[in-house]
């Protein structure tokens, strides 16, 4: 009876409305990305030094040269005009040309994307695995183990990442020689370990804290007592019941995780001399390379927006109670 009603209800939701919702969501995502890039644009264009000066740096600059560079970079146009051109360019996959490198931004960003994604993804997986194991092992158990892991997590969260990177390198690469910094191909994979670990440590620590908290909360709920009353084992209770609840708490962290992966890349890529978006971003900002900064921001906000959208999609999958709410 109620099934029929539910079906009827679902059927009533017109397909057009769904399409409109999806379109609206996509539009919002794009707007946020462009907005973020625009913040960078306005900040650098309005407040920083004359970009032409910065581009030329201290090279000999006659007024003619200044004028030439200005027109080469399209800086002779007005601010709104340049912004519109840039936005128009996105539609054709054109993110402009880097002031500094004189190459299309898309190309620069494109070739640096994969290494960063590779690093970030590995770090995320490591962090997630580490955090989960730690939380599962310590949640609501042996106060001493819990305190020890809690202290370790705080420590991990309080350590400057570049420092951690250098220490890890010194010990595991230079002293023990387990993981090379320099490597390509098969050893390239091994060269990924230390940077990924550096990036993963705070993530694992944060996840462990949040997960453990979620687990402990879930384990204190009546349904956990009910499950125990059925005579199931403690491990099964953790993995089959509590973990999923804890996952919900973790998902609210997704924005933070994306941010810390991308932001962490800036530091870790420098320490380990890795390719990647992070370094491009840092140099581009320090040289007021507006198109490159905008490109990087567009891209990193893309990840943020996409991950947020994914999490929004995942929420109802993990928590069915959210289904059917708009």
């Amino acid at each position: 009876m109620s099934g029929a009603l539910a079906a009827a209800r679902a059927g009533r939701a017109p397909r057009g409305a769904l399409a409109r919702r999806v379109a609206l969501r996509l539009a919002t995502m794009v707007a946020v990305m462009v907005g973020a890039a625009t913040v960078a644009f306005l900040a650098l264009e309005l407040v920083a030094d004359d970009p032409v000066r910065t581009v030329i740096g201290l090279r000999p600059a006659t007024p003619e040269l200044l004028a030439q560079v200005r027109s080469d970079l399209g800086l002779d146009r007005s601010l709104p005009e340049r912004w519109l051109l840039w936005v128009g360019g996105i539609a054709h996959g054109d993110l402009g040309t880097s002031y500094q490198l004189q190459r299309p931004v898309l190309e620069i960003v494109g070739e640096q994307l994969l290494p960063t994604v590779e690093l970030a993804l590995t770090a995320f997986l490591l962090g997630a695995a580490g955090g989960t194991l730690l939380a599962l092992a310590t949640a609501g158990r042996r106060p001493r183990a819990r305190a020890a892991s809690g202290a370790a997590e705080l420590l991990a969260l309080s350590t400057p990442p570049f420092w951690l990177g250098i220490v890890l390198l010194t010990v595991f690469s230079f002293q023990l020689g387990w993981f090379p910094v320099i490597g390509a191909g098969e050893s390239g994979l091994r060269a990924l370990v230390l940077p990924a670990v550096t990036l993963a440590v705070p993530i694992a620590a944060m996840l462990a804290q949040v997960l453990r908290d979620g687990l402990e909360q879930a384990l204190a709920q009546p349904f956990a007592t009910t499950a125990r009353a059925r005579g199931i084992s403690e491990l099964r209770l953790r993995t089959h019941h509590a973990l999923r609840h804890a996952l919900l708490a973790v998902m609210t962290l997704s924005g933070w995780i994306v941010g810390s992966l991308l932001g962490g890349a800036v530091v870790v890529e420098t320490v380990f001399g890795r390719q990647g978006i992070g370094r491009v971003a840092a140099t581009a900002i320090s040289s007021a390379d507006v198109p490159t900064v905008m490109g990087v921001v567009l891209l990193s906000s893309f990840f943020f927006v996409v991950v947020n959208a994914l999490v929004d999609l995942l929420y109802p999958l993990v928590d069915p109670r959210l289904r059917g709410r708009a």
């Binding site: 400057p160 570049f162 933070w256 320090s286």
Partner: protein
């Protein structure tokens, strides 16, 4: 990365949980915070050495009776640098956190309570800033305003504010629909009073506790900026830049970066423990 950690407001709410530090741990943490605050206000109480006095002849000395924590590359007393560094480090940490919390409260309240024409743009702005990786935002701000202690605090605050704003907005919406606010409406209490007496205190108090945790993150963010060459200007003693400057000496003279590192860790851990303790004391989840 740490520049970003401060944006984790959402996570922090979840992270701090119901756990309560044991009483002695909380007490110890409060003591540490007190000592650090004291060092920031009156460093002379702890050391008479001049943190700025360089001496090339006494550079990179290992810890000894004369120099408890050794000397740095410039022959300055590391202990004195660490003690005197508390001020700038806290200025960055506390300053950034205060600015971020204030901006976050204004933005968040606006986005939650103002009319559509104000709230929607505010909300979008918060989203846009959130999507902007924090460390890039901080670098951007510094590249524009420069890098005095205050400017750095501002830069970090700009990165942290949207996180707070998001929490404030969510909390405000939650509290606004809470029974007690509705009861006040039903009583006929004026809107301004409701915001001032009911909404704000209930939104801000948990936020202040969060901010104690955010404080550690801002100090770390400052050190990441130093690493990227955008730290506070020398010779200001400051922990983050001390670690960054001492990193080449890690293998040969560990104490140079270890001492300020330990100071950061101690501060962050203590402040976090205190924050959690107070959060639990203030009644946890509410």
């Amino acid at each position: 990365m740490s520049a970003l950690r401060m944006r984790s407001g959402v996570g922090l709410v979840a992270a701090q949980g119901r756990r309560r530090a044991s009483r002695p741990a909380l007490l110890a943490a409060e003591l540490v915070v007190l000592l650090i605050a004291l060092a920031a206000l009156a460093p002379g109480l702890f050391t008479s050495a001049d943190p700025l006095a360089t001496d090339p002849a006494a550079a990179v000395l290992a810890p000894s009776a004369d120099h408890w924590l050794g000397t740095d590359q410039q022959g300055r007393d590391v202990f004195a640098r660490v003690v005197h560094g508390a001020r700038a480090s806290l200025e960055i940490g506390v300053g950034a956190t205060l600015v971020a919390v204030t901006a976050g409260v204004l933005l968040g309240l606006g986005a939650a309570l103002a009319g559509r024409w104000i709230a929607t743009p505010l909300l979008r702005l918060v989203e846009v800033l959130l999507a902007f990786p924090g460390i890039l935002l901080a670098l951007l701000v510094i590249s524009i305003v420069g890098n005095g202690t205050r400017e750095i605090a501002l830069a970090i605050a700009v990165g942290a504010a949207p996180g707070y704003a998001r929490i404030v907005r969510a909390e405000t919406l939650r509290v606004r629909s809470a029974g007690f606010v509705e009861s006040s409406i039903a009583l006929g209490v004026a809107p301004g009073r409701i915001v001032g007496r009911h909404l704000l205190p209930n939104v801000v108090r948990p936020l202040l506790v969060l901010a104690t945790i955010g404080l550690g993150e801002t100090i770390l963010a400052g050190s990441a900026l130093s690493f990227l060459g955008m730290g506070p200007k020398p010779p200001t003693p400051e922990w983050g830049s001390a670690i960054a400057d001492g990193r080449d000496y890690l293998a040969t003279a560990w104490w140079i970066s270890f001492a300020p590192g330990a100071a950061i860790v101690a501060t962050v851990v203590a402040v976090t423990v205190v924050g959690r303790g107070w959060h639990a004391r203030l009644g946890g989840g509410r």
